[in-house]
């Protein structure tokens, strides 16, 4: 598992990816190994569902995702809307969101917001709720996630009142949905950078 540059160069667009996401060569290499582990059919892309047989595909290799309440939201976050495959570059770009934030990073105006900034992290979390990508968390979407997380220990009325309370607290413009800004505001006390970083991806 060394970071010899020669093997990194075997990966297409490695240099651009490193530039764009800030991953080091060693990380790109590791992620590529992981990608290949997941990519059982060696077709260079991860598929969502295997069409001919209708069986869950590559992400099924990660068994713990089956037990995760928002497992399928996580998986579908890897795939752009309308796409059924994800290639290595997109895989890396999604994972770049979870790099720890570089505190002393200075950006010149020309660069876009780096992938692992707090805003982008929050947006990713927002997507977990907002499945239809309309920019708002509706009550139904919130309920769905709540149900998945709280499981069966909670009755339907309790779920409703919890969701009600959550929307009441956050919804400032009274449109019965939580927009991204309201979402961000409700999480202002939480240290997003620490919480949403995977340390070894530094």
């Amino acid at each position: 598992m060394g970071s010899s540059n020669s093997s990194v160069n075997n990966i297409p667009n490695a240099q651009e990816l490193m530039q764009e996401t800030g991953f080091s060569a060693a990380h790109i290499l590791r992620l590529h190994e992981r990608f290949e582990f997941l990519d059982k059919h060696k077709c260079g892309q991860l598929r969502l569902v295997d069409r001919p047989t209708n069986q869950p595909q590559d992400f099924g290799a990660v068994q713990e995702l089956a037990l995760n309440p928002i497992g399928d939201s996580i998986i579908s976050a890897f795939f752009s809307p309308g796409q059924e495959t994800v290639d290595f570059a997109s895989f890396v770009r999604i994972l770049a969101h979870f790099r720890p934030t570089d505190r002393n990073q200075s950006r010149d105006g020309a660069q876009q917001e780096p992938a692992n900034s707090s805003i982008r992290k929050l947006k990713f979390a927002f997507q977990m709720y907002d499945q239809d990508r309309d920019g708002k968390i509706s009550r139904a979407e919130l309920l769905q996630v709540l149900r998945a997380m709280l499981g069966i220990q909670v009755t339907e009325e309790q779920l409703q009142s919890i969701a009600e309370r959550a929307i009441q607290e956050a919804d400032l413009d009274r449109d019965d949905a939580i927009s991204f800004d309201e979402f961000r505001k409700s999480l202002e006390k939480v240290d997003i950078d620490h919480k949403m970083s995977i340390r070894f991806l530094r």
């Binding site: 590791r30 992620l31 992981r34 582990f37 997941l38 969502l48 209708n54 069986q55 869950p56 099924g60 713990e64 995702l65 089956a66 037990l67 995760n68 309440p69 928002i70 497992g71 399928d72 996580i74 579908s76 809307p81 309308g82 979870f98 990713f124 979390a125 239809d132 009550r139 139904a140 309920l143 149900r147 998945a148 997380m149 709280l150 499981g151 069966i152 220990q153 909670v154 339907e156 309790q158 409703q160 009142s161 919890i162 009600e164 309370r165 959550a166 009441q168 956050a170 019965d176 939580i178 979402f183 409700s186 999480l187 006390k189 939480v190 919480k195 949403m196 995977i198 340390r199 070894f200």
Partner: protein
């Protein structure tokens, strides 16, 4: 009234036994020498008999014959009746933990015996404790250990167990020596090694006591596994240090090499216990493979092999606790795949029963053994020991946590640290170890101090930990009340990060785990699990799960509540109940829905039965549909029949089924797709069910080969 009734029941039970004991002569029986020689029937065994000369004895009492098992059974009976009485006694369990009550019963019984016989009551012998009373408890703990949680927190647990125990031992030992130096007059003859020896045995956190107190407290499972895992693993360190200092005491002088060797010994003892446990676990798994024709004795093998592993490692002076825990963890998945359902339930029930009895006996004996003649009291020693135990544990936990929090994503909060530090209870292990010390002038002082520390920790700390924690919670809440949305979103982020870590394959954990799983699947499972059961893990289990649910009957569907009806501000008590709900249920971290280890009940939903692969909701151009696959029974027919178990009212975020080797039909996906375009809500599910129900009639004729397509949420475990 109920309390009075049970109290009287309890007292009568308690007094019955000592009266028996008091009435029978304890050691030797008066030989009936002055009686005329009998016909030789039973004068030789020294029994009491009605002395009718030249006549047949009609009624005789021969206690001596059954003395040993009789006494044992009476003790166990006493313990169990005490436990029963405790649970019936109304509000007392809420305040006083069970361990305290049992010790009090023991004190009572010991006092009665002492009063009647004017000699010390039987004490808990170290051998009986280590060989008979401790193994069932540890086996039970190891068998029901939440595996994934344990291994994910293994680093932290080892950190606390090894370093924390070392810190405590050295700290307490050295400070006690300082105290002894200061109080030269009374404590001058306690040497440094003695203090270190004492420190090593008093610093050990006891799994029995910890478990019994945490039962009643609501702690999240991560914290539970930290404290519990620490108490299990520090056995290796404790016992090694104890034996080390003991052997140092016997040596004329101690050199640096000896200390180094001592350090190696810790590693050897720990790893040795691990390997012994592994070996016996694998052998047990292999044996269970062949038990299909004699299913009734299958549970016996579990117990025999575990106990053997414990005894073997004790024989080799390795860590018995580690051996038995490893054995249980290793053999569990294979044994449960091999034996029948009934055997599995028997194993679990027996484990719970034995460990329960064992724990009760331990606490009662602790109480009884307190009443003795051998006490020696010394104010400075006892008080300083108590103080130092608390202080060193607190500082140790604080320091270690400060370091380990930097490496964990989920920081160990201040509340957790307080519980870890304050919940470090001492118990019967210290007690037995102190009896094993070689005799020296101040041994009685050590015994007394140990008893005092144990009683203090169990009573004072055990009783006050719950109110103190609640006080802390209240204080924390007063300062910064997290909003409901904050809690929900934080938990969502936790799940998200866990999922991403899983996808990335968190090196150091998942990498090895994946490798192990591959190895497991390819070699171990094939070797250790019966052939016809190997498919069990995927299809058969879920089929059986379905059958079970069918038999239990479906619960009624929850009402679909109109969302709009709740848009009014919530009352404070509703707010409180919401908070309580969230704090209880959102803490099921790592997606585990099983509650933390519970001593008294058996939870049916074993997580090993989860074999689910999700299907994904795929969004394509705003349209939503769900792929459904149909599983086939391996010998199934081609005709499709759906018997779907749908719970209307709950959104289907996962459509679950298991994979099958055969290609899957597509019949269902078309009607499903058409039925479910648009926003997901309960109605299409109901429509689907209606569509499918006509097909129910068809398979009646082919009962054994049912083909299933089923929908289960991944949280529904009951």
């Amino acid at each position: 009234m109920a309390a009075l009734r049970t109290l009287s029941l309890l007292l009568s039970a308690c007094l019955l036994w000592p009266i028996c004991l008091a009435l029978t002569p304890p050691a030797q029986l008066p030989q009936p020498r002055n009686l005329p020689p009998m016909l030789g029937f039973n004068s030789s065994d020294g029994s009491l008999s009605v002395d009718l000369p030249m006549a047949l004895r009609v009624f005789s009492v021969d206690y001596h014959h059954v003395q040993a098992p009789f006494e044992i059974v009476l003790w166990i009976m006493l313990a169990s009746l005490a436990k029963l009485g405790f649970h019936w006694s109304g509000r007392v369990p809420a305040v006083v933990p069970e361990s305290c009550l049992l010790i009090m019963v023991g004190l009572l019984v010991g006092g009665v015996i002492y009063g009647v016989r004017h000699s010390a009551p039987p004490t808990l012998s170290a051998d009986a404790f280590f060989l008979f009373l401790l193994p069932p408890i540890v086996l039970d703990a190891g068998y029901f250990l939440p595996g994934r949680l344990f291994f994910e927190n293994l680093g932290t647990i080892l950190w606390y167990a090894v370093l924390g125990t070392l810190w405590n031992v050295l700290g307490i030992g050295l400070s006690l020596y300082g105290v002894c130096l200061l109080a030269q007059s009374s404590l001058g003859d306690v040497s440094l090694l003695h203090c270190l020896l004492f420190g090593s045995l008093i610093a050990a956190v006891d799994p029995v006591a910890v478990l019994s107190v945490f039962q009643e407290m609501h702690v999240n499972e991560q914290l539970h596994i930290l404290v519990f895992g620490e108490s299990l693993l520090n056995d290796a360190v404790t016992v090694v240090l104890y034996k080390l200092f003991e052997s140092f005491l016997r040596l004329p002088s101690v050199s640096g090499v000896d200390v180094l060797l001592g350090g190696c010994r810790v590693v050897v003892v720990g790893l040795g216990g691990l390997f012994v446990g592994l070996f016996f676990g694998l052998v047990a798994a292999l044996t269970s493979r062949f038990t299909s024709r004699a299913q009734v004795i299958a549970p016996l093998f579990v117990f025999l092999y575990s106990y053997l592993s414990y005894l073997t490692s004790e024989m080799l002076h390795l860590s018995g606790i580690m051996a038995i825990v490893t054995c249980a963890v290793t053999m569990k998945q294979y044994v449960e795949a091999n034996v029948s359902e009934r055997s599995k339930t028997s194993i679990q029930y027996f484990l719970k029963m034995w460990s329960s009895v064992s724990e009760t006996l331990i606490f009662i004996f602790l109480g009884v053994s307190t009443i003795q003649d051998v006490h020696m009291w010394s104010w400075p020693f006892v008080c300083s020991t108590l103080l130092l135990c608390l202080v060193w544990r607190a500082t140790g936990v604080l320091l270690l946590t400060a370091v380990v929090n930097k490496l964990r994503r989920n920081a160990v909060t201040f509340r957790d640290q307080f519980i870890i530090a304050y919940g470090g209870l001492r118990g019967a292990i210290c007690f037995s170890l102190v009896f094993l010390i070689d005799d020296f002038p101040k041994k009685r002082l050590f015994i007394t101090t140990t008893i005092v520390v144990i009683l203090f920790t169990v009573f004072v700390q055990g009783m006050t930990i719950k109110p103190l924690v609640e006080l802390l919670d209240v204080k924390r809440k007063k300062r910064a009340l997290p909003t409901v949305s904050e809690e929900i979103h934080s938990r969502l982020i936790d799940h998200l990060l866990a999922g991403i870590e899983d996808v990335v394959g968190y090196w150091g954990q998942h990498y090895w785990k994946d490798k192990f799983e591959q190895f497991n699947r390819k070699y171990l499972r094939r070797f250790l699990i019966r052939e016809d059961h190997q498919a069990r893990s995927s299809i058969l289990r879920v089929y059986q799960e379905l059958e079970r649910r069918e038999q239990r009957g479906d619960e009624e569907a929850p009402r679909v509540v109109d969302p709009r009806s709740h848009s009014r501000p919530l009352l404070p008590e509703e707010m409180d109940s919401i908070r309580r709900i969230l704090s209880r249920n959102l803490q099921n971290f790592n997606n585990k829905q099983t509650p933390a280890y519970s001593r008294h009940t058996l939870h049916q939903d074993a997580t090993t039965e989860r074999t689910r692969k999700p299907l994904y909701r795929h969004q394509s151009l705003g349209e939503r549909y769900t792929y459904n696959t149909i599983t086939h029974w391996p010998q199934g027919e081609d005709e499709f029949n759906g018997s779907r178990r749908v719970r209307p009212g709950l959104n289907r975020s996962h459509t679950v089924c298991s994979t099958s080797p055969r290609p899957v039909l597509q019949d269902l996906s078309a009607p499903a797709a058409s039925a479910q375009t648009g926003p997901v809500d309960p109605k299409p599910s109901a429509a689907r069910e209606d569509q499918i129900s006509p097909h129910h009639q068809v398979p009646v004729g082919r009962a054994p080969k049912k083909q299933l397509s089923f929908v289960l949420e991944n949280e529904k475990q009951q």
